[in-house]
């Protein structure tokens, strides 16, 4: 798994399956969620944006955890592939966070009457987005790719340590300024008809992440190893 040619061959086999599974789960989840699931008696059909919003918010956070784990592996064991993984995951995580923010504010307008609230969760998601931006900005500023990987790894470790602190402090700050007016989704109160498609969507989003990550990573591997023999062999034949 560690060596680029091995990864490339291995991922060629696994990638179509990832793609097919992602399509199955996503289409099933979205079809069920958007068309079959019952309409919410308070919010109407607007609530259905949840089937995109919640999975992307979950993904935005767990991709960061994934990146920080890659960063730790890269700093401690100097495994090159984990650095590439970190780099390939960053834009995906940033996009999911952006999707969560945008769908959240589209959802907020009809239900809360405003595009944006300084709610604790919204604020920490916005900060997460800025942290992604900082990581990507740092990566693009360093020309040597292995160095850039290590630099981003170091910064992502700081992120891992500081994200719980950010969440906690935003919670305290929010309760200081205003009583918590809204809670986003509370799953216990959600009926199983609405919850099951959401679960499918979350799994589908994870699969989409795995698929795009593999695509990005293969691209990165080929790009960095383009002068190597095994790459030439693949593309000449």
């Amino acid at each position: 798994m560690g060596s680029p040619p091995l990864f490339y061959r291995w991922s060629s086999k696994i990638m179509p399956w990832l793609g097919i599974l992602a399509i199955i789960f996503l289409s099933a989840g979205l079809f069920w969620g958007l068309l079959i699931a019952p309409t919410d008696y308070k919010q109407g059909d607007v609530y259905r944006i949840l089937y995109v919003h919640v999975p992307s918010a979950i993904l935005g956070q767990s991709i960061f955890m994934f990146m920080a784990a890659c960063g730790l592996i890269n700093v401690v064991w100097r495994a090159k592939i984990s650095g590439m993984m970190l780099k390939s995951a960053a834009p995906i995580g940033m996009s999911f966070t952006l999707i969560a923010l945008v769908t959240g504010s589209v959802w907020g307008k009809p239900t809360w009457g405003t595009w944006w609230v300084w709610d604790a969760r919204l604020t920490s998601t916005l900060i997460l987005f800025f942290i992604y931006a900082a990581l990507i900005g740092l990566y693009s500023s360093i020309d040597d790719k292995t160095k850039a990987d290590r630099a981003v790894s170091i910064l992502s470790i700081v992120g891992l340590a500081i994200i719980p602190v950010i969440k906690k402090s935003v919670d305290w700050w929010q309760t200081l300024h205003q009583p918590s007016t809204f809670t986003l989704t509370s799953s216990p109160s959600m009926s199983p008809d609405m919850y099951q498609p959401l679960l499918l969507c979350v799994i589908g989003f994870y699969l989409i992440f795995a698929f795009t990550l593999t695509l990005n990573l293969r691209n990165e591997v080929i790009d960095r190893e383009r002068s190597k023999n095994w790459v030439k062999q693949i593309f000449v034949n």
């Binding site: 900005g137 500023s141 630099a151 170091i154 910064l155 906690k168 402090s169």
Partner: protein, 243 residues
């Protein structure tokens, strides 16, 4: 050349000392002494952040209007934002000079722990930006009509917060050596949000006569974890330049 005579001796001293008898604290003292002399020879290093801080503070009443009640309620946030920005102003210079003239190479070649080097650099940065800001913050508090009772919590929170900012700033500087100064600021700013939130909460709580000690303890805890973690990561980041 900014230095001559005895100063030059102090500067070259750490580079010549290879005897293993010197303790870690001696090493820390030598670096601190050397860097303080360099900083004081060029007064802009400690005056620029200070002036920047005061100018930013002055802009808020000019932009928002001079009403006393408005300004005193905004004072905690205004002072904290100005302090954050001012302490990031000099971040780029933490390592860049030593990197350019090769002193950093010598530090790493010497057998002394590089962790101490980074810690000394952070302390120097705090001494030339954080400490002047700390002193000037009382003046800023008067300008912004902050009640006298809130002075102590403000200074305590700034004391802990600016040191944490220096730690973060050192990491940002190490990651972006030779790049633009604005890059290191952008890298560091999202990570400084907890400090900002807790620092302003301390002052706001004291304005409302509430107990603020919990936030101070959290800031202290962040500092206690941050000193070893961030210094080690900064060493790792500096070593990136010596592959």
């Amino acid at each position: 050349m900014l230095l001559q005579g005895t100063d030059l001796q102090i500067l070259t001293q750490p580079l010549l000392r290879f005897d293993m008898k010197s303790s870690v604290l001696d090493w820390l003292g030598i670096i601190l002494k050397r860097d303080l002399i360099i900083a004081f020879r060029r007064s802009s290093t400690y005056i620029t952040p200070l002036v920047f801080f005061l100018i930013v503070i002055t802009f808020f009443p000019l932009a928002l209007g001079p009403q006393e009640s408005l300004l005193s309620s905004l004072a905690p946030g205004v002072i904290w934002i100005a302090a954050l920005l001012a302490s990031l102003l000099a971040v780029e210079s933490i390592f860049s000079e030593d990197f350019r003239d090769g002193s950093l190479d010598d530090f790493f070649i010497s057998l002394e722990p590089s962790f101490i080097l980074v810690f000394a650099k952070v302390m120097i940065h705090w001494l030339i930006t954080g400490l002047p800001i700390l002193i000037a913050s009382s003046l800023a508090a008067i300008i912004l009509y902050l009640p006298l009772e809130s002075f102590v919590p403000m200074i305590l929170s700034l004391l802990l917060g600016t040191f944490f900012m220096s730690l973060l700033g050192a990491l940002g500087a190490a990651l972006s050596i030779g790049k633009s100064a604005i890059l290191s600021a952008i890298i560091v700013l999202p990570f400084s949000i907890p400090t900002l939130l807790m620092g302003t909460s301390v002052v706001t709580f004291s304005l409302n006569n509430q107990d603020y000690s919990g936030f101070l303890m959290m800031m202290g805890a962040m500092l206690a974890i941050g000193i070893p973690l961030l210094c080690l990561l900064t060493v790792e980041a500096l070593l990136l330049n010596y592959d």
